[in-house]
């Protein structure tokens, strides 16, 4: 009875707990013993492995981000190559975003900050346009490619977390580099606006239904690929995407149940704490 009154032991060193220094949690011992009795039959069962649905959801989130990134290039290509006037699309996009945000949060966006951002972008777009104007086009494409790689690498895997500052910076760097090729500052402004909406704001609003979002995005991207590059490229990309979404999660769970040793299952529960370096 006394034990029940006691605070349960926590695996935290920085608070003073009512336990001796050499206290070992019974849960840990039980876990170890179970592993030892089972010996080599201690492979994790299919039940103990991560469910396929969860893995797939995580992968789809990353897929979405990848597609959003490719939207930057699609938008750029429409403005730069096909000479499409981006203004009506931007307005449409903004209206859509406003509607979505109203639907998801049931209230209107913070007017002040959005106005500040919009006007700042409007003011800075001529500057952004001229920043790397003297650089040759080839260097710009190369630079954009490497920046995109870095951006994809820097995206945070956790869907709930705020998109990290580094990836925001890299996204803006890509946009800035590409913006120097555009003709007018209106185009630069619209391009910047669309990119920010697609990559930073939209993913936050569609958290409730990632699969639908993935479907819409894939449709858009594949349509563009078919139109711009032809069927062969589209088929390759489609194969890769379906492998990624349908095969990879199953494969991962299969590997987890059959090939990962029991040490992993121990360290999953009792993993060593990683220090937080500040």
């Amino acid at each position: 009875m006394q034990d029940h009154k006691k605070e349960p032991w926590k695996r935290i060193l920085w608070i003073r707990q009512d336990y001796p220094d050499n206290y070992t949690d019974p849960e840990f011992i039980r876990h170890l013993q179970r592993l030892r009795f089972k010996d080599k039959y201690a492979w994790p069962s299919p039940e103990s492995a991560t469910p396929v649905v969860q893995v797939r959801t995580d992968l789809v989130l990353f897929y979405n981000k990848l597609l959003s990134t490719s939207l930057v290039f699609i938008a750029f290509n429409f403005i730069y190559h096909y000479k499409v006037d981006p203004l009506p699309y931007t307005i449409a996009m903004t209206v859509l975003i406003l509607y979505l945000s109203w639907r998801s949060t049931r209230r209107w966006v913070d007017l002040r900050s959005s106005l500040v951002i919009t006007f700042a972008m409007l003011t800075l777009s001529p500057v952004l346009k001229s920043l790397s104007k003297t650089t040759a086009s080839n260097s710009i494409w190369t630079l954009a490619f490497w920046l995109t790689l870095a951006y994809v690498g820097s995206m945070s895997p956790n869907p709930e977390s705020q998109s990290s500052n580094l990836s925001t910076n890299l996204l803006l760097a890509i946009v800035t580099v590409l913006a120097s090729r555009l003709n007018s500052s209106t185009q630069v402004f619209c391009f910047l606006f669309i990119c920010i909406q697609l990559n930073l704001i939209l993913p936050k609003l569609v958290v409730f239904n990632t699969r639908l979002y993935a479907l819409v995005l894939s449709t858009v991207v594949f349509t563009y690929v078919i139109l711009a590059l032809g069927f062969s490229y589209a088929i390759v990309a489609w194969c890769l995407a379906s492998f990624y979404i349908f095969v990879l999660p199953q494969w991962f769970v299969y590997w987890q149940t059959n090939y990962r040793g029991y040490e992993a299952s121990l360290s999953r529960v009792w993993e060593c704490q990683r220090p937080i370096l500040d």
Partner: protein
């Protein structure tokens, strides 16, 4: 005769080298060495006196007989057990020779600078040496050296006490004074005029000093010429003080033989040894010599300049126009057009380049064109030559430096403008980089904290950061090229100013003294073994002051210059965009080591004067 007791073991005997000849000359006589020993000193042999003169009376305590020599022999037998003979050449006080354990300081004691600032270990070691625990408390050598320094006085005192010891009459050097006494009236009149003239000059110099150093606009910091005038004023203000210091001591020195209570007198006299006022003497004459030297240099320089002024003006005109206008113009134009294939931001580069080009045109119209005009240059060179003939070469050189700094003012402006822009940009980028990392500077605690930024803050900050990052190369290109130009200008100024400093503060007098008579400028003593059999004989000699020690202020100055302008610290300042400026008054203060921080007040001077005249009166009484 006082016997030597057991306490006197291990006491050394200082033996004047003059006595060696005496004992050879008086080979046939029996001689006794009379020495003086005060409390805490070794024996210092004063004279060798024939035994028959001493026999009939006893010597009084400060004097003892320490050795005897039989007739027809050249060997001395000493009464002190276990002793060493240290031979010495008696320093001639009237020729300002003396022994000193420490090197005499050529600068004022409060203005000693440490040459090796960078060697921290050495400094720690020095601190350790300074600790009383590691210092010797045996003051015997020091006391004995003081006795040696007053050798002639003590000798005279001995003869005064026992006149019959005197074998040959002492030469009197009074002839000159008698001659001067005849012209006493004339002399007094001249002295009056000189006195008032000195006071007038002193007042004038103080006034100029105060004007140059006023609180609102200290001209000394701005112009080298003002600094030169300031230096001369300070020197003139300090002359009377130095003169008084030297002469008060000289009068005391003349009064030395009047003290007759020997043991106490010498104790009192110790503080008035030459080493007390002697550095003042060196400093005084060094300054005088340097001034004369400067004027003679100025005469040479001025006459050459006058002769060649036309050619020099033409060359100078071309050089100035090329270096300070054409060259900089080209550089600025080039920076706007993607120099060396580096892709700069076109708009910003064009803007900066245009701004600097306007500044160049403005300075060209305002300064360079009128100042580097051939006629103006001729006029300036003529004036310079005349100035240098009258006031000295340093004055002319400092005017050249000022002229150059006026001509290169646009370089300074460019440097300041570009460094300001760069500094701002760097600062903003650093704080935006914190935002980039999701951190924020906490001003209250002066640390960097984590902070959660809203999306709009993040976006705005990121936009600015990206823009600044892309603009950095452009600003950096301008900043670095103008920094190089500025450093070049600073180097030229520093070279010229170093020449001025050398002319102003060269230890000429000390160097000449060292050549003429090394014993007059002691930097310690050295003992050399002369004879080892029997009683060991040593010889004590003066070590002259080392050349390094004489040039120590210059070494310190060079260190400071290197620290201020050509070191990692400077590079760091330049990288951070902080200004690199010449702090002239601070830099060259090191060389003012022979001058007090402020000119001495006239009232203090009067007090000194009264003290001096008071002593004179006492002497007359």
């Amino acid at each position: 005769m006082p016997s030597i007791n057991a306490m006197d073991y291990n006491r050394y005997i200082f033996w004047p080298q003059g006595l060696n000849n005496r004992s050879i000359n008086l080979l046939s006589e029996e001689l006794e060495a009379v020495a003086i020993a005060l409390r805490g000193t070794d024996y210092v042999v004063l004279d060798a006196i024939p035994s028959q003169l001493i026999k009939d009376e006893e010597l009084e305590p400060p004097y003892v007989v320490v050795g005897k020599k039989k007739a027809q022999s050249n060997r001395w037998s000493f009464t002190v057990k276990q002793t060493c003979i240290i031979e010495f050449n008696p320093p001639k006080v009237e020729q300002l020779q003396f022994f000193s354990l420490e090197p005499i300081s050529l600068s004022l004691p409060e203005k000693e600078y440490d040459a090796n600032d960078s060697f921290r270990n050495a400094r720690v070691l020095y601190q350790l040496w300074g600790h009383p625990r590691y210092q010797s408390h045996d003051k015997r050598l020091r006391q004995s050296l003081k006795l040696l320094n007053l050798f002639s006085t003590h000798l005279a005192a001995l003869y005064h006490r026992y006149p019959h010891y005197l074998m040959q009459p002492v030469k009197k050097s009074g002839g000159k004074i008698i001659l001067l006494d005849k012209l006493k009236l004339m002399r007094r009149f001249l002295a009056k005029i000189c006195f008032y003239l000195t006071i007038f000059t002193y007042h004038l110099a103080t006034c100029i000093y105060l004007i140059l150093n006023n609180g609102f606009l200290p001209l000394v910091n701005l112009s080298v010429t003002a600094q030169q005038i300031d230096l001369r004023c300070q020197q003139i203000c300090y002359f009377p003080v130095q003169y008084l210091r030297i002469n008060v001591n000289v009068s005391l020195r003349k009064a030395l033989p009047r003290f007759r209570t020997y043991s106490e007198a010498s104790a009192n006299l110790r503080k008035d040894l030459p080493s007390k006022y002697y550095p003042d003497y060196i400093r005084f004459y060094n300054t005088l010599w340097l001034m004369l030297n400067d004027i003679s240099f100025g005469l040479i320089f001025g006459s050459i300049l006058l002769e060649k002024s036309d050619e020099v003006a033409l060359v100078l005109h071309r050089v100035i126009t090329y270096c300070l206008y054409d060259c900089i113009n080209t550089v600025t134009l080039l920076l706007a057009q993607n120099p060396v294939g580096i892709k700069l931001n076109e708009e910003l580069a064009l803007f900066l380049s245009d701004m600097f080009l306007w500044t160049i045109d403005f300075s060209n119209l305002m300064f360079i064109k009128p100042l580097a005009n051939i006629d103006t240059l001729k006029f300036f060179l003529n004036g310079l030559a005349k100035m240098s003939c009258v006031f000295g070469g340093t004055f002319a050189l400092s005017m050249v430096v000022d002229y150059f700094s006026i001509l290169s003012i646009h370089i300074y402006l460019f440097y300041r403008i570009s460094s300001k822009i760069y500094h701002w940009q760097l600062n903003i980028m650093i704080s935006l980089f914190y935002l980039f990392c999701g951190k924020k500077k906490n001003v209250l605690r002066n640390r960097i904290d984590n902070n959660f930024f809203q999306l709009d803050e993040l976006l705005l900050g990121t936009l600015f950061f990206i823009i600044l990052v892309f603009l950095t190369p452009t600003v950096l290109a301008f900043y670095s090229s103008y920094t190089v130009l500025r450093m070049g200008a600073i180097t030229i100024e520093i070279i010229l100013e170093s020449i001025i400093a050398l002319l102003n503060h060269f230890p000429l007098f000390a160097l000449l003294l060292r050549i003429k008579d090394p014993r007059r400028i002691p930097g310690g003593v050295s003992l050399t073994l002369k004879k080892i059999e029997g009683i060991p004989h040593f010889e004590i000699r003066n070590k002259p002051l080392s050349i390094y020690f004489m040039f120590k202020p210059f070494v310190v100055l060079m260190d400071h210059i290197r620290d201020n302008f050509y070191s990692i610290k400077t590079l760091k300042r330049i990288t951070l965009g902080l200004p690199v400026a010449i702090k002239r008054n601070k830099l060259y203060q090191i060389l003012y080591s022979s001058l007090p921080g402020r000119p001495i007040d006239i009232h203090t001077l009067r007090d000194k004067w009264e003290q001096f005249t008071g002593i004179k009166d006492r002497k007359v009484d």
